[in-house]
Symmetry: C2
Subunit: 195 residues, 2 copies
Amino acid sequence: MSGDDLAGTPLAVALVHHPVLDRTGEVVTTAFTSLDLHDIARICRTYDVGPYYLVTPVAAQRQMIERIREHWVAGEGYKGQHPRVQAMERVHTAPSLDAAVSDFAGRWGRPCLRIVTSAQEDRDACSFAALGARMARETERCWMLILGTGWGLAPEVMQASDLRLEPIRGRAGFNHLPVRAALAIMLDRLLSFPI
Amino acid sequence: MSGDDLAGTPLAVALVHHPVLDRTGEVVTTAFTSLDLHDIARICRTYDVGPYYLVTPVAAQRQMIERIREHWVAGEGYKGQHPRVQAMERVHTAPSLDAAVSDFAGRWGRPCLRIVTSAQEDRDACSFAALGARMARETERCWMLILGTGWGLAPEVMQASDLRLEPIRGRAGFNHLPVRAALAIMLDRLLSFPI
């Protein structure tokens, strides 16, 4: 991997496809979507964070994602000079969240703190303001913002985290934002602090 | 139309499919996408704004959107009690931006101000803070946030507006957010002010 994909901010994003919950609370593996691939890459590029890790244990899914990335970064898509090229450089895959964290910590040479996200209330959750202030202050670390597909991250991922971020609270008791929209709002809130 | 789709906040969202620009600067009509339909409906519902008007002069497109809406709000989708039902109630169509503004102003019985958005810098643009403060203060109005598909709103829409909102500035000179992500960030910024 080249160093070109290392963003200016020591913050990475992981979109987890396993282990996540389905609507009934079962632990499942979801399929990656082209939509999450492109939208989240563009959002990460806008806020200069990355890499953006798509985490899935399914090798065929990782290969498909890598092929799409290569199309844009080094193939036919690159020739078209589309702005999507710059966004797709941020895309990486990992077979597990541990592998993503290990890769990212190695790039920065710093310990990586795991920040999990959820649409559910949690009395131990960290506020956006508090997390933004920590990220600005604790410059000896790097940080990974972890989002779940499906109906959210499985309990084992929540428990193995360093920090739980407060949910984005809607105005009318509706907490079903698309994961792409939730990430855009999270980065906008967090990166209003200088890091 | 029922009154159930009138949000608690006097702010509507219009996604314009014509007149918008393509990559070369030509004025075109884009096709609606299922993605923008669902994602933006969920974002609007989260922040309790609406209606969400999909603006297109193509009657067949409006009919397709209405059929998708009916599937969720009154058809098979409704029976499943999916949270998407509440989001889809916010969806409406309009053949033109003028028709959307007229419908919305009629619902509130107030004059509607047109707020246009763009990824481009504009020295006359209104800041998020200034617009949020105006919306909180000027309770005799209602407001429509207007977004373009394709490569943005055509000049005639920009010129016929009351306010131009400042762009969302990325950290690294990249201004290609998906329209869905841009809207999520805009509502989150604007509605941190009490309206």
